[in-house]
């Protein structure tokens, strides 16, 4: 029965320790930010921050992150009060289907937390393990650069 701290709130969860964190976040806590993309840690759509580090929640068990700070896309901001990265993605219209956006924003958050003013090359490198199929890479890079300027 893991107790998980998600977006600043503690949750007593009646789920097995080995349940993948992604399913616990989505199905038990009804969060929509982290997405199921591959279940193999290959695409990045399920990315969450754990103690500030970007982690693939599809291959992380709930029991392994007890007591740690878990932050999802919902923990960054809301439609009314978006985080600067979310604002920048909206301003740059950095999406087509938007399914990969969670991973892009969460990975970029971890980047900007450690490198506040990255170069374009650093942004590309940081996001290289996150897949986008619609081909909005250029817009995503622009959005992350914009967010870094608006810090």
């Amino acid at each position: 029965m893991p107790v998980l701290k998600v977006n600043g709130q503690s949750h007593n969860l009646a789920v097995p320790d080995d349940a993948p964190l992604l399913y616990v976040l989505r199905n038990d806590l009804k969060l929509n930010g982290p997405k199921f993309g591959c279940g193999l840690s290959q695409c990045g759509a399920c990315t969450v921050l754990i103690d500030g580090q970007p982690v693939r929640s599809c291959v992380t068990s709930a029991g392994a992150v007890v007591g740690q700070d878990i932050v999802t896309l919902e923990g960054l901001g809301t439609p009314e009060k978006p985080h600067r990265l979310q604002r920048a993605f909206i301003d740059e219209q950095a999406a087509q289907c938007g399914y990969c956006a969670n991973g892009m924003i969460m990975r970029a958050k971890a980047l900007l937390d450690t490198v506040p003013k990255p170069s374009e090359g650093e942004v590309r490198l940081a996001l290289d393990g996150n897949l986008c199929r619609c081909g909005v890479h250029q817009r995503i890079i622009s959005a992350v650069m914009r967010a870094s300027r608006e810090a």
């Binding site: 199905n27 290959q42 695409c43 909206i90 999406a95 924003i105 490198l125 081909g135």
Partner: protein, 745 residues
């Protein structure tokens, strides 16, 4: 954007708008269905108004100062709902934010067929534009009567009609009234100088929700009582389930039911990870019969030529002059199977109600035809199945959306009253989505002494690009494997004007003689169906690569060589614009670098698109770095500039990914491209800088932009690589190993 999930609302409830204000632009059904014999044929209406003629099918003036727009086309991430909302706001004369859209619900919206083929702006956009203008015209006439002011002296601003010091709103005007009207499309459109929305970059209505984790995808639906389903797909094409002992799995934690019907095998569990575990176990213990002698991804090009072929001559212009042929050049090009490869695997929810109604939430592109196919599979009347579109992950054609909807319906039938959510795995999606079909093309050109084409002979070999549900259960993966299976219908190649395998197979250049032959194959080497551009990707790649070959052979600049025989002014304009923006005339060659250009008008009737690409090739590794891509397009009148830009940009990146990296590998052991390691796609470090210029054509029809970049991108890439290293690559994709091998030989 679709209203929040509400599974059981009826058309009456929605259309009543909850109050007396609803203005039904309705026509009695009898007036349409029972037109007297000998009555003049109904006039041709623009776009999808032709097939959905009543204004009430499209628009409602609802209480609370709202307008409801109902459309059959659906949001796939291409931004169509924002664009049609712009058109509605403009032509109806209301603020953008007053409009609420319902899309893709078989019980509520006009049937606009499939959201595909770059037809949403021409079909839906055009219909919405004229329906909205007609509605405004009717409302202004009503206001003229009510206010006693001549209609010509009235103006509309945000639904308020005013003139000569008097005013009334749409919502006051229609209270308690019903109108019975069919669209005429004769109401004048809003004057260009009064436009607020057409041609403006209005932010997409769905993006804020997507960036903040609001429930907007079908994957996010969690109705009360929902349970989780997983399917155990066949290990290889045409396998048969011989036996499976389900007793152990039925006792696993959380498992509610194992469903088997022929070779269809699925499981329902309370929790998602329990369903996954149960499906994994079933997969391990199931016994299958598998076919042995099958074509492979390596042998498919030979296999295609040995099949029974339907030979269709789609163009046969013989040359009228008698200029002597100085040389004949013949080449062959190949493209492999490739995937849609959406980042989110397909997902659907289905619920069987106590009254026998099956309601399905789906990211299908074809809710009506998918509903019909599922009803056929279930053996129930079409009125007993309802499909509601809810957005999914990126859609670039016929992917697993319809199949997973059918899977969910079969599981839901076994568990009445519980919403069943079926989520495909990454492995399911990679192995079972219908791919873009492999193709083989051969071009033979007779040229004169200056290298100009005299005779052009183009032949193509392809399996079908169209196995969409099409109201037939035999097109559904599940339907094909039930105890009483529905056979896959014999595919038919799409004819003119859109074509399918032979889309863009007719070169748009003015050659003295041109013959084009389609060799259509009705069997399959791998499951295939509509994928962004269909045959246009291979055909444009072939034609535009060959034009480049001929230009180099004639020692003429490839741009100039094309312009000699491209007479269409809009085509010439995009080609010249792309070249100018690229800096074609002043470009200087550096070692290892090359440039290439290519052009096509998609479907020979939609968006004009030219692309110039610069690459750098590492000789020792064979790695191609795409440095930049410069495009110019003409999609007719522009409604959403950024929407078109986004589509072209995404199309270039996706086509570069296809052309540089992608090929589905399969053999008797099944599909081996089953994840992102075995089927890699382009990543951030490989995406070039992209520049796009849009040419606006006010007053011209909307042409649709979603697929225009696919063909020109592949050809411009291969042409640039040739320019860089002097080696012509005629088989896609241009992987480093292939490039390196050719450079060393």
């Amino acid at each position: 954007m679709n209203a929040p999930f509400k599974p059981r609302f009826s058309r009456r409830e929605v259309l009543a708008g909850g109050g007396a204000l609803a203005l039904a632009f309705s026509v009695p059904v009898s007036a349409i269905a029972q037109a007297p014999a000998g009555a003049p044929a109904a006039p041709r209406l623009p776009g999808d108004l032709q097939t959905n003629r009543k204004l009430s099918m499209w628009l409602r003036i609802e209480e609370g100062g709202k307008v409801r727009l109902l459309v059959g086309k659906v949001e796939l991430g291409q931004g169509i709902l924002t664009a049609v909302q712009q058109l509605c706001a403009e032509e109806l004369g209301v603020d953008f934010n007053r409009i609420v859209i319902t899309s893709g619900d078989t019980s509520l919206v006009p049937n606009e067929g499939v959201t595909a083929g770059s037809l949403s702006m021409p079909g839906c956009g055009t219909a919405v534009r004229h329906a909205s203008a007609d509605a405004r015209g009717i409302l202004v006439d009503l206001a003229a009567q009510r206010l006693g002011v001549d209609a010509g002296k009235l103006d509309v601003a945000d639904g308020t009609i005013s003139g000569e010091g008097k005013q009334i709103t749409y919502w006051e005007l229609v209270s308690g009234q019903e109108l019975e009207v069919e669209a005429t499309a004769k109401t004048p459109l809003r004057a260009r100088d009064k436009r607020r929305y057409i041609g403006k970059n209005i932010p997409r209505i769905d993006i804020p929700a997507k960036m903040t984790g609001q429930p907007i995808y079908v994957q996010d639906l969690r109705p009360d009582g929902m349970v989780h389903g997983r399917i155990v797909r066949l290990p290889v094409y045409d396998a048969k389930l011989v036996s499976v002992d389900t007793s152990g799995v039925e006792k696993m934690p959380g498992v509610l039911k194992v469903v088997r019907d022929g070779s269809f095998l699925g499981v329902i569990a309370e929790r998602e990870e329990q369903a996954i575990r149960a499906a994994d176990t079933l997969r391990r213990i199931a016994q299958w019969d598998v076919p042995k002698d099958v074509p492979t991804s390596e042998t498919v090009y030979d296999w295609m030529q040995k099949q029974k072929l339907q030979d269709i001559v789609i163009k046969n212009d013989s040359r009228s002059n008698s200029t002597a042929v100085a040389a004949t050049i013949a080449v062959e090009y190949r493209r492999p199977f490739h995937m849609h490869a959406s980042i989110g695997p397909s997902c659907a929810l289905a619920t069987l109600d106590a009254d026998g109604m099956m309601t399905i939430q789906t990211h299908s592109q074809s809710v009506f035809e998918t509903r019909n196919a599922i009803a056929m599979m279930l053996g129930v009347d079409r009125t007993k199945v309802r499909c509601q579109h809810v957005q999914g992950s990126g859609c670039y054609g016929h992917n697993g959306a319809d199949d997973v909807a059918a899977d969910a319906a079969l599981l839901a039938r076994a568990m009445p009253g519980r919403p069943v959510r079926v989520q495909w795995t990454r492995n399911d999606e990679h192995k079972w989505e219908p791919y873009g079909a492999a193709m083989l093309t051969r071009i033979k050109a007779g040229v004169d002494g200056n290298g100009n084409v005299l005779d052009w002979d183009y032949q193509l070999w392809s399996t079908s690009h169209g196995t969409r549900p099409s109201s037939n259960a035999g097109n559904l993966l599940a339907g094909q494997v039930l105890e009483k299976p529905f056979p896959l219908p014999v595919p038919v190649n799409g004819g003119p004007p859109n074509y399918a395998a032979d889309r863009n197979a007719i070169a748009m250049y003015e050659f003295p003689g041109q013959v084009v032959t389609t060799h259509f194959i009705t069997t399959f080497a791998a499951r295939a169906s509509s994928t962004r551009g269909l045959g246009a990707y291979a055909n444009v790649f072939s034609i535009e690569s060959f034009m480049d070959e001929l230009a180099h052979r004639a020692q003429v600049d490839p741009l100039e060589y094309r312009l000699r025989v491209l007479k269409n002014e809009r085509g010439r304009a995009v080609l010249q614009k792309a070249a100018d923006n690229f800096g074609w005339a002043n470009w200087r060659k550096a070692p290892g670098r090359g440039r290439g250009i290519a052009y096509a008008q998609y479907k020979n009737l939609a968006t004009y698109c030219a692309i110039a690409i610069e690459v750098e090739v590492e000789r020792n590794t064979g790695k191609i770095r795409v440095l930049r891509a410069v495009a110019a397009t003409d999609s007719g009148e522009i409604v959403s500039p950024d929407g078109i830009r986004n589509q072209i940009e995404g199309g270039i990146v996706q086509s570069l990914s296809w052309s540089l990296k992608e090929a589905v590998r399969f053999d008797a052991g099944g599909v081996h491209s089953d994840d992102w390691i075995s089927y890699p796609i382009l990543t951030f470090s490989e995406v070039p800088k992209i520049e796009i210029e849009l040419i606006d054509r006010p007053g011209q029809p909307f042409l649709g932009a979603g697929e225009a970049a696919q063909g020109p991108t592949g050809a411009a890439l291969a042409n640039a690589v040739f320019d860089a290293v002097g080696v012509r690559y005629r088989e896609l994709p241009l992987t480093p190993s292939k490039v390196k091998m050719a450079l060393q030989s």
